[in-house]
C-alpha cells in the first residue's frame, strides 16, 4: 500500500505536465486579448524620445488620457528603449503576440514592411487620417518601399543639424556657424583647448554612425544600394565619406578620442549640453536642452555644411529622420489601434507632442502654432524640406545600419587607440561589411 502512493503521484505529475503543455498550445488564438475588456484597451509601445523613459511617460500621459476621454479606450503604455525596440518588434512579429500599436524609427520602415507584420495604409485607410496630402512629403517618403502602400504613418518629423554653443563660439572669437567643411574644422580647432573639444560624436553608436555614413556618403556621391537592390557599401565615394568623418578625430583632432566609447546615444549630447564640446551634429535635443536650462540665446542651430558643389556629390546634409506609427496585423483591437493612429496624427496631438519633443509635426495643418516659429524649428524645417534625403527604402536597410555602423565603431576604436586608419583600412572594413550581406 505504501508503494502505490509515489507511483500514482508520478503518473499524476506527468499527466498534469502533459495537460499544461497542451493547454499552452491551444491558447495563441486568444492570447493578447487581455481578458474581457479587450475592446476598451490597446497596448502601445512608444520609443524613447525624451530624456528618459520616465520623461516620455510624463509627456505622453496627458495625451493618452485625452484619447481615453474621447474614445473610451484605455492605452497601456510602455516606453521601450532604443537598444531593445527593434528586437522587441521582431519578437512580437515572430510570435504573433505583441502590442497593438508601436513606434518605429522611420529608417526601419522598409525592412519591417518586408516582414508583413504591419497593417498597410492603403489610400482608403489613409483617408481616415485626412489623406496623403495632409502629410509632409519627405516624412511620408520614409514610410516604406516606393510603390507599395506604407505600413506606418509619420508622427514626429526629425532631421540632422549642427548645434553650436554660442558662448563657446564667442569666447573663441567665432562670429557665425561654419558654412563649409574647412570652416567647421577651423572652428573646431579654435574651440579645442583646456579639456574642451570642437565637436562631440557618438562614436560607438551603430545607428548614429550609420546615419552619418549615409549623409556624408551622399555628399560624396555614394549609392549604398544600386537599382536592383544590391549593396555597394565599399565604393570609393563611401570610403572617402567615412574617412572624412573619422578624420575629425584622427587628423584634425577636434573630437575627444573618448567619444569612441560613447554607445548609448546620450553621451555626446551630454558633452554638448555640459559645455565639454562646442558643436554637435544631431537630431532634435529639445528635452535635453530644456532640462539643462538652455535657451536659444545659449545655443544655435545651423545646417551641417554642404560639400563644395564643384567637387561633385549631392547637396545633401541630413537624412529624413523621424518616428512612424505602425499597427500590428495581429492587434487584439485593430479598430482601437486605427483610432489611436487618427488621434496621434490629429492636429492637436501633433502640436502638443512635437512641441514637447522639439520635433516637427508631420501634418501640414499643425504648423499654425507659434511654437513652431522658433529659430531651431524653422532651421530644422528648412533642412528637412530642402537638403535632407531619406535613407534607402529597401528591405536590407536595417542590415546596412548594423553592418556599416559596426564597422565604423571599430574604426573609431582604432583611431582612438592611436592606430593609423588609412583609406585602405576603411575600404577593407566596408568590403567586409558588404560581404556579410550575403546573397
Amino acid at each position: 500500500m505504501r508503494r502505490r502512493k509515489p507511483y500514482l503521484l508520478a503518473v499524476a505529475g506527468a499527466l498534469v505536465l502533459a495537460a499544461t503543455a497542451c493547454g499552452a498550445d491551444d491558447s495563441p488564438s486568444t492570447a493578447g486579448s487581455a481578458g474581457g475588456s479587450a475592446a476598451q484597451t490597446i497596448t502601445y509601445w512608444a520609443s524613447n524620445q525624451g530624456t528618459s523613459l520616465e520623461n516620455d511617460k510624463e509627456v505622453l500621459r496627458p495625451e493618452l488620457d485625452r484619447f481615453t476621454k474621447e474614445t473610451g479606450i484605455t492605452v497601456n503604455l510602455e516606453v521601450v528603449p532604443w537598444a531593445d525596440l527593434l528586437n522587441r518588434i521582431l519578437a512580437a512579429t515572430t510570435s504573433g503576440k505583441g502590442p497593438d500599436v508601436v513606434n518605429i524609427g522611420n529608417t526601419w520602415s522598409a525592412s519591417l514592411q518586408a516582414t508583413g507584420a504591419f497593417v498597410p495604409w492603403d489610400d482608403a485607410l489613409l483617408k481616415t487620417l485626412g489623406g496623403k496630402e495632409r502629410f509632409l512629403g519627405p516624412s511620408l517618403a520614409a514610410t516604406g518601399a516606393p510603390g507599395q502602400p506604407p505600413t506606418a504613418v509619420p508622427i514626429y518629423g526629425m532631421t540632422y543639424g549642427l548645434f553650436y554653443n554660442k558662448k563657446m563660439f564667442e569666447e573663441a572669437g567665432i562670429d557665425k556657424p561654419p558654412a563649409t567643411w574647412d570652416e567647421l574644422i577651423a572652428d573646431g580647432k579654435k574651440l579645442t583647448k583646456d579639456g574642451r573639444w570642437g565637436l562631440a560624436v557618438e562614436g560607438a553608436s551603430v545607428s548614429e554612425n550609420a546615419h552619418h555614413a549615409f549623409i556624408f556618403g551622399r555628399q560624396h556621391g555614394a549609392e549604398l544600394f544600386d537599382a536592383s537592390g544590391k549593396p555597394h557599401f565599399d565604393s570609393d565615394q563611401e570610403t572617402r565619406a567615412i574617412k572624412q568623418y573619422l578624420d575629425l578625430m584622427a587628423v584634425h583632432k577636434i573630437v575627444n578620442p573618448s567619444n569612441a566609447e560613447y554607445a548609448n546615444g546620450t553621451e555626446a549630447v551630454q558633452d554638448f549640453v555640459s559645455g565639454k564640446a562646442g558643436m554637435l551634429m544631431w537630431q532634435s535635443i529639445a528635452t535635453q536642452l530644456k532640462q539643462a536650462g538652455w535657451s536659444e540665446d545659449d545655443y544655435g542651430l545651423a545646417p551641417i555644411p554642404l560639400p563644395d558643389p564643384s567637387q561633385g556629390g549631392e547637396q545633401v546634409n541630413a537624412m529624413v529622420a523621424g518616428i512612424n506609427l505602425a499597427v500590428f496585423k495581429t492587434a487584439a483591437n485593430t479598430d482601437g489601434a486605427l483610432k489611436f493612429a487618427q488621434f496621434m496624427t490629429s492636429r492637436q496631438t501633433q502640436q502638443n507632442l512635437n512641441k514637447a519633443y522639439g520635433s516637427l509635426p508631420t501634418v501640414t495643418d499643425a504648423y499654425d502654432d507659434p511654437a513652431f516659429e522658433s529659430e531651431t524649428v524653422k532651421t530644422f524645417q528648412q533642412i528637412l524640406s530642402t537638403t535632407a534625403a531619406p535613407l534607402p527604402q529597401v528591405a536590407q536597410e536595417s542590415q546596412f545600419e548594423t553592418l556599416v555602423g559596426n564597422a565604423m565603431n571599430q574604426l573609431f576604436a582604432d583611431v582612438a587607440s592611436g592606430k593609423p586608419v588609412t583609406q585602405e583600412a576603411v575600404k577593407a572594413k566596408l568590403t567586409e561589411a558588404n560581404q556579410q550581406m550575403g546573397g
Binding site: 508503494r3 503518473v11 578620442p257 573618448s258 566609447e261 542590415q399 565603431n409 560581404q435 550575403g438
Partner: protein, 337 residues
C-alpha cells in the same frame, strides 16, 4: 565520504518488459492493482523522473530541435511571420559559416579563436584564484566567515548590476580604473581605453574572472570539507611540508570535484552572453568578439536567423565534442590511477 555517488543501486537495471507509463485509466485503483507488483516496483524510478524528463524535453530539447530545423532554412525577415514559408537553404547556412575565405566564415573563425583564448584564460585564472582562496581559508581563524561571505559577493550579485558597474569603472575619462592608474599612480602617460581596442580583451577576462572565481572557490571549499584530517595528520607525521601536503593530499582528493568544476566553468564561460553584452553592448570590440555575441549579431541584428542557427548548431557540436573528449580522458586517467 567521497563526493562521487553516480551509480545508485537499481538505476542500471532495465524493466523486465517495455513498460512506460500505464494508460491514464491505470490511475483507477482496480487496474493499478492488476499491474504485477514486480513491474510496478521496477517502473517506479522511471515514473518518478518522468515529469522531469518531460519538462526537460519541453524546456531544452524542443527549442534545440527547432533551432536545428531553423539552421536549414533561409529564414530572413521576409518569413518571420510564417516560418513554414521560408525556403530550404539545405546546407547553405553551414557552408557559409565554415567558408573561412568568405567574410562570414572568417569572422566566425576569428570570434571562435578569441573565445577559446578567453575561455582558457578565464577558467584557468578562476580556478587558480578559487583553489588559493579555498586552501588559505581551510584552517579556521577569526573573521573567516566574514571573509568567505565577502568573497561570494560577486557571485551573488545580479549579473547586470555587477557588470554595468564594471563598465562605469572602465570608462576612459570618468572611470575609476583610469583615475587610479593614471591620475594617482601615474602608470600611463596617456589615458588607456579599456572598453574598446585591444585592452577590451583584458577587461573582459578580468570581469569574467571576478564573476566566476567565487563559484570555483565555493565548490572547492565544499570539496575540501570532505578531506579527512587523518590524511593530513598522516602526511605530517611522514614529514610532509605544506606544499607537499597540497600536492599529495589536497589536489588528488579534489580530483572528482575538479573534474566537474572545470567542465562546468568551461561550458559557462564559453557560452557566456551576459557579461560581454552588458559590458560592451550590442557590438563587441573586434578583439573581444565572443562567439555568443557574434552569433547574436549574425542572427538578430542582421535578421538572418537561419545563419545564426547554423552557427549555434556548430557551437553545440563543438561543445559536445569537447565535453565528450574531456569526460573520456579524465575518467580513463582516474581508472588508470
Amino acid at each position: 565520504m567521497v563526493v562521487s555517488t553516480t551509480s545508485r543501486p537499481g538505476a542500471g537495471r532495465r524493466p523486465a518488459s517495455p513498460g512506460g507509463p500505464p494508460p491514464p485509466g491505470g490511475l483507477r485503483r482496480g487496474i493499478a492493482d492488476r499491474v504485477p507488483a514486480r513491474l510496478r516496483r521496477l517502473a517506479l524510478p522511471y515514473l518518478l523522473i518522468l515529469p522531469a524528463v518531460l519538462l526537460e524535453l519541453l524546456v531544452h530539447l524542443v527549442p534545440m530541435v527547432i533551432g536545428i530545423g531553423m539552421s536549414f532554412l533561409k529564414l530572413t525577415q521576409f518569413f518571420l511571420r510564417n516560418w513554414s514559408a521560408a525556403p530550404s537553404a539545405g546546407l547553405g547556412n553551414y557552408r557559409v559559416a565554415v567558408d573561412f575565405d568568405g567574410a562570414v566564415g572568417r569572422s566566425l573563425l576569428h570570434s571562435f579563436l578569441v573565445t577559446v583564448a578567453f575561455t582558457v584564460l578565464t577558467v584557468g585564472l578562476s580556478w587558480l584564484l578559487g583553489i588559493c582562496g579555498a586552501v588559505l581559508m581551510q584552517g579556521s581563524f577569526r573573521g573567516r566567515a566574514v571573509l568567505r561571505a565577502l568573497f561570494l559577493v560577486p557571485y551573488a550579485l545580479p549579473v547586470y548590476a555587477g557588470v554595468i558597474t564594471w563598465s562605469f569603472l572602465l570608462q576612459r575619462d570618468s572611470g575609476l580604473v583610469n583615475h587610479v592608474l593614471v591620475d594617482q599612480l601615474h602608470l600611463f602617460g596617456e589615458r588607456p581605453f579599456w572598453l574598446i581596442g585591444s585592452n577590451s580583451f583584458v577587461s573582459l577576462i578580468v570581469v569574467c574572472v571576478w564573476r566566476s572565481w567565487p563559484f570555483a572557490f565555493l565548490v572547492l571549499m565544499a570539496g575540501l570539507q570532505n578531506i579527512s584530517d587523518d590524511l593530513y595528520e598522516a602526511a605530517a607525521i611522514d614529514g610532509a611540508g605544506w606544499g607537499r601536503r597540497l600536492r599529495a593530499v589536497t589536489l588528488p582528493m579534489l580530483r572528482p570535484v575538479n573534474q566537474v568544476l572545470v567542465l562546468v566553468l568551461f561550458l559557462w564561460t564559453f557560452n557566456d552572453f551576459n557579461t560581454p553584452y552588458v559590458l560592451f553592448g550590442k557590438s563587441a570590440p573586434h578583439e573581444a568578439d565572443l562567439i555568443s555575441i557574434h552569433i547574436y549579431q549574425s542572427s538578430f541584428v542582421t535578421w538572418n536567423f537561419g545563419s545564426g542557427s547554423a552557427m549555434s548548431v556548430l557551437l553545440l557540436l563543438f561543445l559536445l565534442l569537447v565535453t565528450a573528449v574531456y569526460l573520456v580522458a579524465t575518467s580513463r586517467r582516474r581508472s588508470d590511477a
